[in-house]
Amino acid sequence: MKNHKPKAIYRVTSAVKLFALGLLLFALSLQGCREKKTDSNISSSSSIKQQQYYVQGEQLYIKHCSNCHQKNGTGLGLLYPPLAKSDFVDQNFEAVVCLMRHGIDGELIVNGKSFNKSMPGIPSLTDLEIAEITTYLYNTWDHKRDSIELQEITNILNRCVDESNPNRSSTAK
């Protein structure tokens, strides 16, 4: 009898150890998944407001933009240009803000490739929603811009030329 007891305890502890190890591995893999899932480049030090913008912006992006540009921002062939890696996005902050509301037409060169299909604007987007999408777009994938203020977006939106005006250069930086 005396001999059996420690053995049993040993078995229990090793089972517990195994279980704990399994749990640890599971937690680690979960963590890995989570890290892979978000493409957020928004730093943890940014304000709560910025983080809220980002989360809202992601939802709005999925709702309004992802059907054409894809959820992961890769676009589709030479039909819909990419957003994830785009020199246009990098270089034309104001134009990007404007095209969400007013759309964009005509030939557009993105990463050296020519696109030419019209993107319809979404006039119903509010300034705040555009600020949120902009926060998402500019802090995801290849981009890291961080702080985007609503006032800044409103100012840009007030300067946008109408989509009927083909001269976009005045809105581009």
Binding site: N67, L76, G77, L78, L79, K117, P120
Partner: protein
Amino acid sequence: MNKSLVNGQQSIVRGAASLLIVFSILTSACTKKENPLPIFGEREVEGTDTVYHTIGEFKFVDQDSAAVTNDTFKDKIYVADFFFTSCRTICPIMKTQMLRVYDSIQNEPDVLLLSHSIDPEYDTVGLLHDYAERLGVKSDKWHFVTGSKEDIYKIAQTSYFATAMEDKSEPDGFIHSGAFLLIDKDRRIRGKYDGTKEEDVNRLLADIQRLKKEYVKEN
């Protein structure tokens, strides 16, 4: 060494081997018993023959101005859908998914794709040509067709059971389903998938392989 122990070990090995054989027979039996894909639509029994619903006659023009008819798909499995180039809602997603199908059948000479424009007046041959080129696909594998609006709507509704009609109150001016339809070599519908859902298209990819096997067996 103890003889009986060696014997014991041998018999364990033997036991394991025979178990493995039984197991592999069982699993191979399972794969052979895989249910055939369903056949969609009404059927009529004429004497001893069952007559199934089949895709009606059609004649359209593709992105290279070539005529596309039932003959184009003779002895071919194909996937059909309905779209239009100016569609902003579900079509880009459908085309992303169809592109996956296209990539997966690159080395399958007996599988083709057929996309019908439901806005054929706007989607001219030239526009479809540009669209296909920008998508980066070849016409010998993926036909984008246009034709008379009446013909396209009729075949959508009566042959493919797909919704396609004009509706000015819709954002794009059309109502249409995002369905992908799998058609066998006998013009029968064997599967219907939501072309906007990745998982559904995964099922389509698997079903294409299943359908191919059916014809291997019959020949």
